[in-house]
Amino acid sequence: MSQNMHIDIHHVTRVEGHGNIVVNAKNGVLEECRLDIVETPRFFEALLRGRPYTEASHITSRICGICAVGHATASLRATENALGVAVSEQTRLLRDLIFFGEMLDSHVLHTYMLIAPDFFGVGSVIPLAQVAANAVLRALRVKKLAGDLCAVVGGRHTHPIAMTVGGFTHLPSVDEIKALRERLILARKDMDDTITLFKTLPWPRFKRETEYIALSKPNEYAFIDGAITSTDGGSWNISEYKTITNEHLVQHSSSKHTKHKRESYMVGALARFNVNYDLLHPKAKDAARELGMKPVCTNPYFNSAAQIVEMVHSVEGAITICDELIARGITPEKPYTFSGKGGAGVGACEVPRGTLYHNYEIGDNGRIINANCIIPTGQNLANIEADMRALVPQILDQGQEKVTLALEMLVRAYDPCISCSVHFLNVRFI
């Protein structure tokens, strides 16, 4: 077997955005191993400057078509923290509910439509429908439920409408919540079948220790707000996010990289699983056991398995919130009106791909003076490259085709969102 290898995957498929994988090995020695981010820069922070604060969540939801609710929520939390706006219990519940919807939507898209084709040896979900029709129909059914849930709360999933500073411009009816609840109960069967399917699939075996970072809260598996928490120990207020992320530029990526204490860290479903396992719903813990994972899990390919665990958690969490909303009823509430006093604030959420930070400074005229957004995929880029550097020497003797597939699957496992991070994926072996 040749110990020379040149891989150059231009525009990696089945990921969001444009990235290239570049690998170059000579005489068995890895000389080059990069994930190039070639997405066009979009300059969102610059777009926000000078805009009314009320537009921020609508502009930044356009960072990402998949996690638009996550961006809107992080944006609203940053604005609310900047302006000192308190939100009601009803608003908190509805935001938690739409967040569960987005988590379910994004994870089912990733596990079934982007990841599963690799396990079945096909190129996409379309041929997958020939070999595993029931699985594809199940995925479409769950995805429709998740999208409909988001639509009931926010008007639509991709770029929610009704979410605004201090609350909502439109509230769902109790009848709509009841109808959702019935469908969520039926989705439990789909979750069981999902676990049955994925636990039999050939998950790649690879381990590498790294630092895992996620938001955490004392009494719930955190998605919105919380303290920044690391598996290496330590917990920080979200206002200190810059001491964790330490953004820096590298020339081969239009998305900035980050690092904390080590050369890289990981965020996302696997990081949340590792940091907050104890707070998962009991059924989600059962799912983890079935899938053969327990914290701390250091196989990055299992990020997709952690997403399945979170799908179970999200269905159960959404049912619990529906019960609470049905019991308390929906009360008309007025969202916030501007006080004439600006300020600065940070908002943080665990969006499907990891910790998302928005940080705004707002003037007394209600206009945004400065903005900063730190995106999960950007935080994972250095960790993906560290995984690639550890993985390639282990499998170099398997030949170019297998190495290429292993690397594509590795990058896909992180569920990168390159438009978010700028834009991303191609594997180039040069």
């Binding site: 089945r14 066009t40 820069p41 979009r42 537009e55 439509m113 999208g147 991709t158």
Partner: protein, 245 residues
Amino acid sequence: MKPKVAFFDFTSCEGCQLTVVDSLQTHLDLLEMVEIVQFREAMSERGDDYAVAFIEGSITRESDEARLKEIRARAAVLVALGACAHIGGVNAIKNLAPLHDVRKYVYGERAEWFATYATRPISAVVKVDAFIPGCPIDREEFIRVVNALLRGIKPPIPDYPMCVECKLKENVCLFDKGGDCLGAITRAGCGAICPTYGDGCEGCRGLIPNPNRDSMQSVLAARGLTPQDVMARMTLFGSYEISKT
């Protein structure tokens, strides 16, 4: 033979392509009618023989122009998918400030590493045969357009204002509720979804033909909006369109 269809993206969030995937949830039969040969976000297969190309995203750097022109040369029908491709979308907000300031604000002293120029819709670079407006596109409208293309007729995109649809929905006008809205000058077709959910139209579907912008602006001013606020409303999605009229 089924028509071959391909999807491509430039500067965008890919939310319109995701909306295409979502529209299949209720229209699986559509997959029987066409053959998708390229859709990078969703599939690994890459065919370069296609009749219809759907393009998401705006054009923001020179190197993307050649790729777009190549797609144009291959495709018999080229369709702009969503606001970024159709009118530049939110990406065009950056055109309002000097480009070097925008680049420096995000990438600091390393700004020159990452190429960019003023945002343009794809029609500024190639001939566009049809467009599907919106941020994101409307699922049902996407299905209607594909249906029309399959039958070889002009896609039914409304050229009347969103207010018409809002009235048909029997919504109380947001101006009567103390709010504001661009529905009077914005192209219909979304089912007035934003006013229905309590938020004023943001103009993501672009201007109707012959919009009375002066009147719209004086109505907004009468509502109490400052000239800066009026400008913000008009430029959220309309930065490129406004610069051309």
